[in-house]
Amino acid sequence: EDQVTQSPEALRLQEGESSSLNCSYTVSGLRGLFWYRQDPGKGPEFLFTLYSAGEEKEKERLKATLTKKESFLHITAPKPEDSATYLCAVTSAGGGNKLTFGTGTQLKVEL
């Protein structure tokens, strides 16, 4: 069974203080690793999909990287509007095409 673990559970940063969120996974044949942002009362907002180790993708202050065991979401010089829960999910050869989610990292960026 696919497993996804995210750390830390919660993270508090000062504005401009860069950091990284971790997503480690155990799957039978990774097909894709997905990052989402979820604001309270909203649906998950798509950020990135990574397909193979070594792949990197960037969007504004966010950069996602992937190895054979884990993915990192790097946040550079965060702003208060980056405060949200960041979710990681995987699809695998053994799991059909469903997403298996981690429990998320709740990020708060303060002025």
């Binding site: 649906g43 798509f46 999909t49």
Partner: protein, 112 residues
Amino acid sequence: GEEVAQTPKHLVRGEGQKAKLYCAPIKGHSYVFWYQQVLKNEFKFLISFQNENVFDETGMPKERFSAKCLPNSPCSLEIQATKLEDSAVYFCASSQPERDRFFGPGTRLTVL
């Protein structure tokens, strides 16, 4: 459309009543997925469709839950005889094969 649409936004039902939720996937997306978010960040997969065909229903509680995706109609998720533990936010997502997956805003179901 360019976004996944879900209706209604909120649904309140008495225990034992029926609930029906709707999802319109992004135009051109052939896959539709339903997820249940019970606790804050716990997503449970329910069912997926490839066009109007069930692709994977391993997460569906089959006794009371059913779902359909018919041509030229929104997809639907129906719960017969709702129970208190069905209270959750139900999300629909859509994608093209092996591509980025986009979620709707969800339907919050409250069973009293």
